[in-house]
């Protein structure tokens, strides 16, 4: 499965939300990283067909989505940002309803829903009202509905926002589990989610694609650009003003500052291993 974005642009009131965005995606988890307002949701909305782009094309296996019409929709599974669903529906009823909307035969849909509920550990909650579920459980229902049609492309918009660490890890594992033989497009600004599971990362800034590559490639790009500086209180202020700081920690009266800079910021600075958070900070 291949997805190709070609020169996608979208303007709102004369301001570009997305400009000439082009990228190629292959099977695996593809994380879209970007600050708030970078264009992640716009890109996803254009991809799933909620928004219409001003320019550009999207190709799936070299086929223009415009020519695919409805068939395109059977390729995708989508979990929107902050889903609420129908609060007065029971989980199983909601999934049955989604099966109908996704044109999945009844028996097959029923079987699939039960399997997926098992996978996401929600079998016991299948008769609960959606309004009574916790945020994490609701997200899991969301991914179940997205997976009902066994899509080739799974699109998840900020799926872990607002979840507790345990739920987030559980959700991350689910994504990894579901990424076999399909493209998972994961838009988030929680870097650790991507760091652990993404095969590819797209860095979006102000509607433009800044960087694309595997997390390791991106991290390698910051080799010898991440430094640990030990400073006093007085020096800390100066350092904060001069450099991009990715972390700061007080220890026995001293302050350890993680600085991202092309050159060694201080004679006593020690070069340390970069991570994806440093990459995020470096580009934004």
């Amino acid at each position: 499965m291949k997805v190709m974005f070609s020169n996608i642009s979208k303007q709102y009131k004369g301001k570009y939300a997305l400009k000439d965005f082009s990228a190629k995606l292959e099977n695996g988890v593809c994380g879209i990283l970007g600050a708030n307002g970078a264009g992640k949701t716009t890109l996803i909305n254009i991809f799933v067909g909620i928004l219409k782009s001003d320019n550009g094309h999207v190709y799936i296996n070299d086929k223009d989505t415009k020519s695919m019409g409805k068939h395109f929709l059977s390729h995708i599974g989508y979990l929107p940002q902050y889903p609420q669903f129908y609060k007065n529906f029971e989980v199983i009823d909601f999934l049955r309803y989604m099966c109908v909307l996704k044109d999945i035969p009844k028996k097959q849909g029923e079987k699939r829903a039960k399997e997926l509920l098992e996978v996401v550990n929600l079998s016991d909650a299948c008769n609960k009202k959606i309004g009574a579920l916790s945020g994490g459980m609701r997200q899991r229902v969301g991914i179940v509905q997205a997976m009902l049609n066994d899509p080739n492309i799974l699109i998840l918009d900020e799926p872990t926002a607002g979840l507790d660490p345990q739920e987030r890890i559980r959700f991350r594992n689910l994504i990894a589990q579901f990424s076999e033989n399909r493209i998972v497009l994961l838009a988030t600004h929680i870097v650790s989610d991507i760091e652990y599971i993404a095969n590819q990362v797209l860095l979006l800034k102000e509607g433009r694609l800044m960087k694309q590559g595997s997390p390791q490639v991106l991290i390698d790009g910051l080799k010898e650009k991440v430094w640990m500086v030990t400073a006093t209180n007085e020096k800390m202020v100066e350092t904060l003003q001069q450099y991009k700081i990715s972390n700061m920690m007080r220890d026995h009266g001293k302050i350890h500052i993680r600085v991202i800079h092309e050159e060694k910021p201080d004679a006593h600075a020690v070069n340390v291993q970069a991570n994806l958070e440093d990459v995020f900070l470096y580009y934004f």
């Binding site: 609060k87 007065n88 009574a132």
Partner: protein
């Protein structure tokens, strides 16, 4: 607190949809006033020829102002021959360009009868009528005192006091006020806007999940509720003021007159037994204030209803049903002598001519209270009760945010 009120006002009422609705409804109201003028005015093109208007204002210079015997004699010198000639309806109805109105003798008679003779006769006779009322009231006072009916005694004393010294000494053009005091359509429009605007005041907090957050802030409890109520009151006051001003100006301009501002209210024949001694302009102001208060009570009702629901759907339908039911009840009891049933409905404040055109009383522990006062007191009681309801239910809802609440709110 002021800042909180300003924020609440901005949040709920400074919306383009509300502003557009206000502007569109203002145009509708003006169109309605125009249709009233066109259908009823003695000078509208659909009823009479343009000559009437010109003739009226020409003669007005002569007959307007203080009513004197000379003016009456002069007027009757014109009118009597017309009346005599048309009495047996045998006079020619052919077009006569030399007639006063440029029509025929019947039109001339009607012109003088409707525009000058009848109104002037009413004004002239009013003093006699008022004196009759006073003497009847005095006689009643003696009578009721003799039979020991103190309630009726007091009632008549009030009537006597209100009718003493009443007279209409000035003849003025009152047609505009005649229809202005009967106009209610704009109140219906205002109520609709209030229904829409106020629906959000509490529901929006639930929709945006701000309700719980508000409860955790220092000013989030009673202060916010209070600020919302004050902001709503300010909104209702501003909205009403705008519509009442538009109404008044539209009536004045369309009827082509700002006359009669200082003429007493009882100069309108339908207000012959009016319970208040105010001028027409003062009445316009007073009526506007009372209408506004009535609409505010309705607004509190809408707010209270909205407290029980999580979205506007059922809240709107329930409020609309209440509104229509109360309007319907008011129409059933309009003009009724069953005063208490009439004034218990806050809508009576909205169509308040019913409170001022007649002198009616409510027995308040043996004391005869004029029914407009009782209606205002009852509306105040409704207002307090509704405010209390809002305070209690908003807080309660916030504190018991559980599954049970969902069952009700998700309707």
């Amino acid at each position: 607190m002021i800042k909180l009120i300003v924020f609440e006002f901005q949040k709920h009422f400074l919306k383009p949809s509300i502003i557009v609705a206000v502007l569109l409804f203002s145009i509708l109201s003006i169109a309605k006033i125009h249709s009233i003028q066109n259908a009823n005015s003695l000078f509208s093109s659909s009823n009479t020829t343009p000559t009437w208007k010109g003739l009226y204002w020409n003669l007005y210079e002569e007959f307007g102002g203080p009513i004197t015997n000379e003016k009456i004699e002069k007027l009757m010198a014109i009118y009597r021959p017309l009346e005599n000639q048309t009495a047996d309806r045998t006079a020619s109805s052919d077009h006569n360009p030399d007639s006063y109105t440029g029509g025929n003798i019947y039109m001339d008679r009607n012109f003088f009868m409707w525009n000058y003779v009848n109104p002037m006769k009413y004004a002239y006779d009013y003093k006699i009528y008022a004196n009759q009322v006073v003497s009847a009231a005095e006689s009643n006072m003696d009578f009721f005192e003799s039979i020991g009916n103190t309630y009726e005694y007091k009632k008549n004393a009030v009537i006597k006091e209100r009718f003493q010294e009443r007279s209409i000494t000035i003849f003025s053009y009152k047609e505009m006020y005649h229809y202005y005091v009967q106009y209610d359509f704009s109140a219906f429009l205002v109520l609709l806007i209030c229904l829409y605007s106020l629906m959000h005041v509490f529901i929006s907090e639930k929709e945006t999940d701000m309700e719980m957050l508000l409860l955790t802030t220092k000013s989030g409890n009673n202060k916010t509720v209070f600020a919302k109520l004050i902001a709503s009151a300010v909104f209702v006051y501003m909205l009403c003021s705008w519509f009442w001003i538009v109404d008044f100006v539209a009536f004045s301009l369309l009827f082509g007159s700002f006359e009669s501002a200082s003429t007493p209210l009882y100069a309108l024949e339908d207000f012959v037994n009016s319970s208040i001694n105010v001028s027409l302009s003062q009445y316009a102001l007073l009526s506007g204030l009372i209408k506004t208060f009535g609409i505010f009570v309705f607004s509190l009702l809408f707010l209270l209803v909205s407290c029980f629901f999580k979205n506007a759907l059922v809240a709107f339908i329930v409020s609309l049903s209440f509104m229509i039911s109360l309007i319907f009840m008011n129409e059933v009891y309009m003009g009724s002598g069953r005063t208490l049933l009439k004034i218990i409905n806050p809508f009576v404040l909205v169509v308040n001519r019913e409170l001022f055109r007649k002198m009616e009383f409510v027995d308040l522990f043996g004391y005869p209270m004029i029914h407009y006062m009782a209606a205002i007191l009852l509306a105040v009681a409704w207002g307090l009760l509704l405010t209390l309801g809002i305070t209690v239910f908003v807080k309660k809802n916030g504190l018991s945010k559980g599954a049970k609440r969902h069952a009700i709110m998700d309707l």
